[in-house]
Symmetry: D2
Subunit: 204 residues, 4 copies
């Protein structure tokens, strides 16, 4: 068969959200583009891991800087005693863009699954270690869970809370508040969201 | 042209969410159904206003009962001093189904619009009158706005708060709490929702 | 519960494409509309069967006219020897709007189903009778099937062809041509459609 | 900002169908994958142009074979006197998969646009040259247009027909047949499709 086309398409098919047909379209796209584009692409892919570091404290990816193992956020907010746990780098970006939080982060890297056969990328050990160290240095007052309100996100949060509570009984947890989201129609809201919305009603 | 078909289709086209093509399908549906169905339908449409009353206190529709001008909710919760303002009857149904609130309601009947040319069905005068009367009888401690978080819902809430504050400076208002709704991905949440979610975070 | 509201909603729920929630919205819509609208609606529903006849030849609905049991199309095209079989009245409207056909129609009224438990509204006996009568009067040269290319439409066509062929071996059948439809991307076309498109290619 | 992440995302954003958010997800995906995956990917991208040739006759991409400038299809069907013009390689794949055509192809490479400012990648000169050469060698009896039935596809076909007719008055053209596509509802068919479907009706 079309060896090189099929083989490259197979790699693109592993990309998030890319199916068989689109992976082929990517290959034809590269075939139509001039050589300079492919060269640029491979160089930038190779450069990626060279020029990007993973923060040793929060595990997010950041532009490599000489002599720095911590990202700029962890360095600039070193005195903060709040840590917000998010699933992935783009959640970090969303929250930073909102400009509502000035503490530290921990990028979990994935969810824990109910089904044990499903491989989890959640950095559970690293989280435990990070919490332990911060508590020893009196650098942790509040651990805030900011995981998605999906079944997986909720399952992960509860499992992590149980694990952490057992090890660090003095630690206090919180989660992002629940209620009506902007743009949502009241009529189509689920009972659980309405319950939280009612409990956390805001004086005007 | 097909006089009777077109004329009936034109009425169905006024129904919420019904376009030209579906209105015609409704007419053909009735033509295919036997006479008993049409008779049943017209009888039930005629019966509707005969058998349904509008509550004089909360303005929701309820099954007419002899000697009653108030709906069962207003009667059963006559001692409550909370009033929850919703836009429409189906919002009332949604909140009652959630089983989270045991106070009274006020069905506003529509929004107030920024554009003055757009006709509003909001029962502003009736709301003012209801609040006044309840305050005189010491029957109102909290007025809770439960309007949708759409631009129209927010505009309506702010206008009503301004009107009511001027007339009843002692009255306290609240709104349903804002935050993450069930099933929502954190990454796609807007900044405003995240701000509220962060401010109203829940200790675990 | 809300007797009259629920009962009327249950009837609206039988309308094509209408679910539980929208049927309730229809009822609240009628409650909000003034009495004149409901009166107008029930009058027009009652008038529908009074003012609309079903053509005795093609079975389509048409505005009742004194002394006429046939629709205007059947009368005006009484000399045509072509009959086009469609599933429903709106298919008739679509084809007439295209202005491509000047023969007669037969509205089948529904499909025949593979699953015998599913009730069919197809007018099979009336079709046989109509074909027989037309053949006797030398008024039928071509029977054109214009049913949808869905599994049900194809199954119905094949069943009808088998039934009619056995009874009227001399009758000739045709179906609407198959091929690429306007706006369709070649890349996403199925093999069967491409086969027909290739076989029926058009000289330019 | 995050130099390497942003720069690579900018290249992915040029890929067909990829927006800003997904291009970032691609980069994070690569960061999460091990080094071997990135290495594999860059090697396969580099190999692509090394191992894939473009056929000198039909212009489709095919796995490079020593001593061959023509693809296997052009070689195996060298005696065919039919040429089917498609827009792109994936159209070729779709038609071959249908197994309905055993002649030659010409991959146009793009459409001609009404708007002259829009750059066209259509290989018009190569098509003219190919037709000329084939006619001289008595190797061309029918040129079949199999372009999409979109406005651009139709415009391109008509322009090419005019150009080719003027140069080669003896050449005969055809297009894929038009009509109902599988799965299409008759009621929603456009008039033009119905016209073709009616004209090209199939005897049963």
């Amino acid at each position: 068969m079309d060896g090189a086309i099929e083989k490259l398409a197979a790699l693109f098919e592993e990309f998030p959200g890319i199916g068989r047909r689109q992976s082929k379209r990517f290959v034809y796209f590269l075939l139509h583009k001039n050589k300079a584009f492919s060269k640029d692409l491979t160089e930038k892919i190779e450069a990626l891991k060279q020029e990007v570091s993973q923060c040793e404290e929060c595990f997010r990816f950041f532009p490599k800087e000489k002599d720095h193992v911590l990202c700029s956020t962890c360095r600039e907010r070193s005195s903060s005693t709040q840590v917000l746990i998010v699933e992935k780098d783009s959640d970090f970006n969303t929250i930073e863009k909102a400009g509502i939080y000035k503490g530290k982060y921990f990028i979990l890297g994935g969810f824990i699954f109910d089904n044990e056969k499903k491989k989890s990328f959640a950095r559970v050990d690293q989280l435990i270690q990070s919490v332990e160290q911060k508590l020893q240095n009196k650098k942790l007052d509040e651990l805030i869970f900011a995981l998605s309100l999906s079944p997986e996100g909720e399952y992960t949060r509860i499992r992590l809370q149980n694990i952490l509570r057992e090890k660090f009984p003095e630690l206090s947890f919180s989660t992002l508040g629940r209620g009506l989201s902007s743009g949502v129609e009241l009529e189509y809201s689920d009972s659980e969201t309405l319950k939280y919305a009612f409990q956390s009603r805001l004086p005007q």
